[in-house]
């Protein structure tokens, strides 16, 4: 209880409040800017957090994460362009609402639903993370290896060729983590004579390149596309009728979003999309969806913010990132010398409760910002790309250079920017690559340690029940989409339809 109280006490520290407020304002601002997502901003600002200390650093990044998901809805509603990918489902009904002059109502509902989803998930985080950590406390290297494998396998759980692409990108990320000295033998791998690569790829330049630089090149391809911006009337609290209509979808989406967030690798975007279709399925007003249904704004917004707290559960309790942004937050903690996992709950409980407190505060702050200052944030969308992105580029250069003050890191960032651009162009997302890169060292280390424990006998993995269970769900998450597809093909064949023309 004392750790809980000490953690919560950070809210009385003016410096911490300032950090959380700055993170939240920054999160809403960048969330509102199309192309600059929460993960890009977290990657860009990672170097700034190095001098902050672990508590302030994670509070800052956590606040950005919470607020950016909400900020994304401002542009989704006003210009039909989600500022953050997690707000893509919000645009389906938010923009039609704004088009008929109800932008304030849509933004009001988005603000309230986001805050409810966010606060619900932080409460789940406070309860579930210590329980999960306690359950994982006696995990050894084989269990961690199986857990990391399960986390990576979830990249394939979205099914079809997208799942295969995600798994490929994830495996490539793990491969990139092998660059540098082999920990057991000291042999250099893929360093090509560059001493800077001996300790492996620096996470900050890689993340900045994959997110900020590749996004800038992607934005360059869209310069000719005009954006239609709708006027925003005053943001208002949802009416009692709106609440009555949306209560069920907010409740359902908060639970769904938190659960999807907890599953490793599936973040806010998946949560919002699934919750949109579930909200529609359970709604009495299905015909309104796509034409300006207020439930179509409430559901995805509650879900994408609920996923934030959810995705922090495996990140903090197990050290397995629940989403791309938490992978970056995890990288930030590693840079600070903190390795999240079950032991953290015994060793630094105050840090964890401080994280919970800061996330709770961030949700309350953006609720106030959304209701009273959304109009000001909406003006951010007026910043021309030609001014914004060169400034982002300069900031990315300084960020990549700052950690080790190395120009090589800036070149690494540029190279990964180009890699990220072509990955996106050919249908790969850079997010699984980051997940693989962050988990890579853990996968290799735990595999080698396990084999040492098992005297190089692979079969002994199957002597541990938790490992067997995790291997089973790993196989299920990789092959379930394939099995589902095969069954659908067989069904179509039986009906005399071409199975491949699906």
């Amino acid at each position: 209880m004392s750790a809980f109280a000490s953690g919560m006490a950070i809210l009385l520290d003016p410096y911490m409040l300032w950090v959380i407020l700055a993170g939240t304002v920054l999160g809403v601002t960048v969330g509102a800017l199309p192309g600059l997502s929460g993960s890009t901003t977290a990657a860009l600002l990672l170097p700034l957090t190095i001098g902050m200390g672990p508590v302030a650093s994670i509070a800052f990044l956590g606040s950005i994460y919470c607020a950016a998901n909400f900020g994304g809805s401002i542009t989704a509603i006003l210009i039909n362009t989600p500022g953050d990918p997690s707000a893509s489902a919000t645009a389906y009904d938010g923009y039609p609402l704004a088009a008929r002059g109800e932008a304030g109502r849509a933004l009001g509902m988005s603000t309230v639903a986001s805050a409810i989803g966010g606060i619900f998930s932080v409460i789940v985080l406070i309860v579930a993370a210590p329980l999960l950590a306690r359950a994982a406390y006696n995990f050894g290297p084989p269990e961690y290896f199986a857990l990391a494998l399960f986390g990576l396998s979830m990249l394939g759980a979205v099914g079809s060729e997208v799942g295969v692409r995600n798994l490929m990108a994830g495996a490539f990320g793990v491969f990139l983590a092998t660059i540098g000295l082999d920990l057991t033998t000291g042999v250099e791998r893929f360093t090509f004579g560059f001493p800077e690569l001996s300790e492996g790829l620096n996470l900050v330049p890689v993340l900045t390149g994959l997110f900020a630089i590749s996004e800038m090149l992607t934005q360059a391809t869209q310069l000719h596309m005009p954006r239609e911006r709708l006027a925003l009337d005053a943001v208002r609290l949802p009416s009692r009728d709106d609440f009555r209509k949306c209560a069920k979808s907010i409740g359902l989406s908060s639970v769904l979003g938190t659960f999807i967030g907890i599953l490793p690798a599936l973040g806010a975007t998946t949560a919002a999309l699934i919750s949109y279709s579930e909200t529609k399925r359970w709604s009495k007003h299905k015909h309104e969806f796509g034409k300006g249904a207020i439930e179509g704004v409430a559901g995805p917004e509650a879900a994408n913010n609920a996923a934030v707290g959810g995705s922090m559960v495996p990140t903090l309790a197990l050290g397995i990132p629940g989403s791309t942004t938490t992978a970056i937050i995890l990288a930030g903690l590693i840079v600070q010398g903190v390795r999240p996992g079950p032991h953290l709950f015994n060793e630094q409980p105050v840090l964890l409760y401080a994280v919970f407190a800061s996330m709770l505060a961030a949700n309350l702050i953006y609720l106030a910002l959304g209701l009273f200052a959304a109009k000001a944030f909406a003006r951010i969308t007026l910043i021309p790309d030609a001014i914004l992105w060169p400034a982002v580029f300069v900031f990315a250069v300084v960020g990549a250079y700052g950690q080790d003050q190395s120009i090589t890191d800036v070149w690494v960032m540029l190279i990964f920017g180009v890699i990220g651009f072509y990955l996106r162009r050919f249908g790969f997302s850079p997010a699984p690559l980051v997940m693989g890169l962050v988990l890579g060292k853990m996968v290799e280390e735990t595999l080698k340690q396990s084999l040492l424990i098992f005297d190089q006998n692979w079969l002994l993995f199957f002597s541990r029940p938790i490992v067997v269970a995790l291997f089973a769900v790993t196989l299920l998450s990789v092959f379930a989409p394939l099995i589902g597809r095969t069954i659908r093909h067989a069904f179509r064949r039986e009906k005399g339809l071409d199975p491949l023309s699906e």
């Binding site: 001098g51 060729e161 490929m168 491969f175 042999v187 360059a220 030609a386 249908g427 040492l452």
Partner: protein, 159 residues
């Protein structure tokens, strides 16, 4: 006259899979260039074993990607617009200016140059943003965090 056979275009996923397989083959070859491990340290997996395992997994996934492309319509992909290459060239130019004149000068020139390249014609605004950003970077990173920002050849020569 018999109709000519329609030219069969390879699905882009098959081309991607082929490129990935080639990458895996090349990197697999590189694993043979690792230094030899002393006999006393050869217990368990060697330094090349894990990367090779991963390359095998990536190759298998590439084959799965090619297999999944059967009967699936290929996505039409627009060629990369010239502005992307020009933006890339501007980034390289930024690195050149940074090497010669330092980060702060590169910031001003980069913001103005890239802004003009991306279609912004109000150069006084770009100049103001560039100078403002350079001052902000100096204050935040150099003064507050004590980071030595790149000064370039010119900076080293002048100061």
């Amino acid at each position: 006259m018999p109709k000519p056979w329609p030219a069969r275009r390879l699905h882009s996923d098959v081309k991607i899979a082929a490129a990935v397989l080639l990458f895996c083959a090349v990197v697999w070859g590189l694993t043979f260039t690792f230094d030899a491990v002393p006999a006393a340290l050869t217990q368990g997996m060697g330094p090349a074993a894990f990367p090779r395992l991963l390359l095998g997994v990536i190759a298998l996934l590439a084959l799965a990607l090619a297999w999944a492309a059967r009967g699936r319509a290929d996505e039409a992909r627009e060629p990369t617009p010239a502005i992307v290459y020009w933006t890339g060239a501007a980034m390289l130019a930024f690195m050149g200016v940074m090497w010669f004149a330092g980060l702060l000068a590169a910031t001003v020139l980069g913001v103005v140059g890239m802004g003009l390249l991306w279609g912004e014609r109000r150069w006084p605004i770009l100049l103001a943003v560039g100078v403002g950003l350079a001052v902000a970077l100096h204050l935040i990173f150099a003064k507050a965090f004590g980071i030595v920002l790149p000064r370039g050849l010119l900076g080293d020569w002048l100061f």
